[in-house]
């Protein structure tokens, strides 16, 4: 099992519903978030293009955050989901420094927190909260090892990119372009 997400930058309208859904679902403290939306503007008027993206932890295959964690609090769960065990985390911040996507933040309670791919929902066979609320259905979540899954299908038929692949972390969030 290899969980991954594909996000259609052509469909995303930047409404931030995914951000709010995540904050509600995961009880993210006020003023923090585990996912966010960026808008990249390219070119000069009148030849401008714009790309909207919702970003979060990439649940990297070669994740520096798991490697650098001194206590093993950051670890892999089934399907390659990168998780933080709160009671093992000492809050040293090494993993925050190690993440090229700045996907982690320090929770006011002291431990480090980030996207979990809503593992509690995924284990029940549901989609992550962000995927399930997206009004344009621009996100696909699934198992890359399952040749019949929607995500494999969409990655087969569309052009896609990953963010900063040169950082070498083997990210598992793909952006359809």
């Amino acid at each position: 099992m290899r969980y991954a997400m594909a996000i259609d930058t052509k469909k995303c309208v930047g409404c931030s519903d995914c951000v709010v859904a995540c904050q509600t679902e995961n009880n993210v403290p006020i003023g923090f978030c585990r996912d966010w939306v960026t808008e990249t503007v390219d070119g000069t008027y009148p030849n401008v293009s714009i790309e909207l993206r919702t970003e979060r932890c990439n649940h990297c295959d070669n994740s520096p955050c798991v490697r650098c964690c001194p206590t093993g609090a950051s670890h892999f769960e089934d399907g390659g989901i990168v998780m933080v065990t709160h009671h093992k985390c000492i809050g040293c911040g090494a993993c925050i420094q190690s993440c090229p996507y700045e996907a982690r933040y320090s929770h006011p309670d002291g431990y480090v927190d980030k996207c979990t791919f809503c593992i509690h929902r995924v284990r029940k066979g549901e989609n992550p909260a962000c995927v399930s609320v997206c009004p344009t259905s621009c996100m696909y979540f699934g198992d890359l090892d399952d040749p019949n899954s929607e995500i494999v299908n969409v990655l087969k038929n569309r052009k896609f990119k990953a963010l900063a692949p040169e950082a070498g972390t083997k990210p598992n969030i793909f952006y359809l372009t």
Binding site: T38, C68, C89, I90, S98, E102, S106, A167
Partner: protein, 313 residues
């Protein structure tokens, strides 16, 4: 032209300042680690060379600072943790892949070694000192007899500790300014140089000061060479590394870096030490203090600047 805007999330004020997660504690931790490594290395080397009679400050006086430096250093690391009550888990896990992890272990091993080393000299410094228990006297006698053998692992551990202070940063691929292997050796020589400066400050023997001063000159030259090497490496690297180097070459850290680290922390003390060597009367405390301050500021700048360098996408 490419411009990136955060529509939501990252304009929430709590996140981005929080990503700047390491504050003043980490540079002090790195500075004290390097200082301790420098002093212990020189103490060990001169013991191995059989010069402990001539080099009193090196093998005897300066190492007294080391246990304090290491304990304060560990305390700084502790202060930096956000989930402090769980601190002990650093020492219930051994994860060699994690520099934070093995560094904490190296410090844990180094601290008792340095305490034992200094303890074996306590009665030379305070002749009236009483160890109270007989076994402590036996242990002391054993340590004094075997100093030469203890010096070997101590020298090796000191080098590991010195390099570690650089590797803690250089292991982070996500921070392009830190992600250079030269940082390990660079922080090691910088630590040696601050250690030497500390010895110079404590020494009353003119010959010893001259000798350590000459060594310090060597450390400073190597350090300057490594810094040039580091910046050249960045400039020959990818865009993110070029941007990292530009923080020092016209960017926001240019003035503090060149004025406080390069000029006042390295070149000026080197000139003063050279003048002293060729016979001018220079109060040697001035270059020594400048080297110490320069080393401290250098670590502050590296830790601060590194955290604003990042991958672009």
């Amino acid at each position: 032209m490419k411009e990136e805007l955060f529509v939501s999330g990252r304009n929430i004020p709590n996140i981005d300042p929080y990503l700047h997660i390491w504050h003043w504690q980490i540079p002090i931790y790195l500075f004290l680690g390097g200082l301790a490594a420098g002093i212990l290395f020189l103490a060990a080397v001169y013991t191995i060379l059989g010069k402990d009679k001539e080099m009193q400050a090196t093998v005897k006086w300066a190492p007294f600072i080391v246990p304090f430096a290491l304990i304060i250093g560990l305390f700084m690391l502790f202060l930096d943790l956000k989930h402090k009550l769980y601190f002990w888990q650093l020492y219930t896990t051994i994860r060699l892949e994690s520099p934070m992890g093995w560094g904490a272990w190296v410090l844990m091993i180094m601290t008792p070694i340095s305490i034992v080393w200094s303890a074996s000299y306590v009665r030379e410094v305070f002749p009236n000192w009483d160890w109270k228990f007989k076994f402590l006297y036996t242990f002391e006698a054993w340590v004094i007899k075997n100093r030469w053998f203890i010096a070997w692992p101590m020298a090796i551990y000191a080098v590991i500790l010195g390099i570690y202070t650089g590797i803690l940063l250089s292991a982070f691929n996500a921070r392009p300014l830190w992600n250079t292997t030269i940082l390990g050796p660079l922080f090691l020589v910088s630590g040696m140089s601050t250690g030497a400066a500390c010895i110079i400050l404590m020494s009353k023997n003119h010959e010893e000061r001259r000798l350590i001063g000459r060594l310090d000159l060597l450390f400073i030259s190597v350090e300057l060479f490594f810094i040039v090497h580091m910046i050249m490496g960045f400039l020959a690297g990818s865009q993110v590394q070029i941007d990292a180097a530009n923080l020092f070459l016209g960017g926001q850290f240019t003035v503090p870096f060149f004025v406080f680290v390069i000029l006042l922390g390295l070149i000026f003390p080197a000139v003063l030490e050279t003048l002293e060597l060729i016979g001018f009367k220079v109060p040697i405390v001035i270059p020594a203090i400048l080297v110490l301050l320069g080393g401290l500021i250098f670590r502050f700048i590296m830790v601060e600047a590194g955290q604003i360098t990042r991958y672009l996408y």
